[in-house]
Symmetry: C2
Subunit: 356 residues, 2 copies
Amino acid sequence: MSLTKDYTLNIEKINTSRIGQVDFKNLVFGTTFTDHMFECDYKNGAWQNPTIRPYGPLSIYPSSKVLHYGQAVFEGMKAYKDEKGSIFLFRPLENLKRINISSKRLAIPEFPEELFFEALETLLKMDKAWAQTGVGNSLYIRPFVIANENCVSASPSNEYKFMIIISPVSAYYSGELKVVIAEQYSRSADGGVGFAKAAGNYAAQFYPTNLAKEKGFQQVIWTDSNSHKYLEEAGTMNVFFRINDTLITAPTSDRILDGVTRKSVIALAERDGIKVDVRKLTVTELVEAAKDGSLKEIFGSGTAAVISFVNGFSYKNTLYNLPKIENSYAKRFKKELMDIQYNLAADPFEWRHKVV
Amino acid sequence: MSLTKDYTLNIEKINTSRIGQVDFKNLVFGTTFTDHMFECDYKNGAWQNPTIRPYGPLSIYPSSKVLHYGQAVFEGMKAYKDEKGSIFLFRPLENLKRINISSKRLAIPEFPEELFFEALETLLKMDKAWAQTGVGNSLYIRPFVIANENCVSASPSNEYKFMIIISPVSAYYSGELKVVIAEQYSRSADGGVGFAKAAGNYAAQFYPTNLAKEKGFQQVIWTDSNSHKYLEEAGTMNVFFRINDTLITAPTSDRILDGVTRKSVIALAERDGIKVDVRKLTVTELVEAAKDGSLKEIFGSGTAAVISFVNGFSYKNTLYNLPKIENSYAKRFKKELMDIQYNLAADPFEWRHKVV
């Protein structure tokens, strides 16, 4: 947190916007980026030279530590435009804090929250034309930090780059998901980095997720690496189980991400008088509940997808399909969350932050 | 393995070598690189355009997947120059195979071994002047693969870059190490990626290693994440324990790297009539052996450091110092390995590969 309040945020504007070249009706998630990006380097023990400049390639040496040791963390946030053209963030302070929690575990110097927020708001004001109105459309914001010292020894970097890039997106997932309960592979260890949004946590899931995809499933619900008995999270989302009328989700731990959408769902459920049990749920309980019909819903929560509907799961090569139900909690929370995010409803928790 | 035999290795030579600017007496590990590097891109389902070109920066978009999801693997190898100016590799086929084992677990397409080897040998021939004679001097070779698709969705990349960069180095560690036995933090999980040289495995160790360093220790010996009862590896090296005259090292598993130096030490020990027990050793056994004097040596094995001497370990805030001994196994294996590597002794196992 070496940068003092008297920093100057440098701004280099584009000459001509690329927005006219974008087909907003056919966006592929995370592949189109707005005109500007934010960049700030850490060198000689201090964050320095914070700059907003045109989005474009970086010059990175092949010996840069991020390419070898995965010393990198990120965040996922969204900005929403209402019908009047105002831009809102959803609980942004949670992300400002969490990136520094992730950084600490990865031995990355913390980034000043105040500068992060100023850079983010400035960037959003500059590129607000890229936000499309309409529920489901948003700007996906990707703040991230990478180790950038040019040295291939396996030790923490002395240089870093903090960046924010912004991608206009429509909905992340379409349709309902079928998931596999992990029996062999694991996402994280006790005493590991599972709670952090650490780069390496994601690559580690790709191969087992591919195996699930080959069998016709879209995601893996991870279990604890010790016993594979307890349901944890889905890697890009936290997971909720509704048994009868009670909502159950795993407690956060050093293996499970403290999701912003997860905690928002819990708050909404409690407000709405829905019982929430934050406790370890065993795979055995889940299977029993599926068999006796008390398992009503499974859904994921995350920034990119908001709420993902799960309509079946596989465990030990048996597929358990979930029934169609009236009064879905998942649908209810998705609507309640998006109504707040898009300024379509009151905001009793003060989660919405107006940028412009 | 999409590249067929009829590829052409493109070569772009430097105009003027940078070698005259290098102070070979004061090399900092992994910070100086030779004149050329090898680069090959994976696009549209095939490895293509293999090229040796001048070492220099890459143009990488901030949305490149490696910067967000740690989808990257690497290898560590060395080339040694003998007094006659010949250049040798040590068991290079092990590294060619292992990078593809790592790639598979990280959902990265395998790289053709034949092309890897041709590129490596060509590069070494071109930059052989950078190898200094003298035992301890070597060229540290870093082959690596990075995901390089410009997309921030958390799924395997469709584009990759395979590279080889080479750094002239002297010895990696100096002096003897004191280590901490892990009691809380973990390196890897059952069912995880610990056996692979995956980028994220390394960053995950930096913070706990920093905590150890603050207390005056240089490395952490990791234990299993389930119980912290069993000794595993040290993150940048496998670990051997000598109790009385028996050498003990953990069996490889999905948490432990199958080290080339580790298997070479085992082969040398067996040849030399030293009993090797490849088995799980508990921390309790280690502490008991330290207390009753039967623990004679601890050492690490790895490409960068060859053999690292450990002269003490800490467990539950108690420091156990190891005695000085005559007839050190560690010293013996270090000499035997380096004599083979530097063409100073016979090569009964055919580990040495002459490049030029």
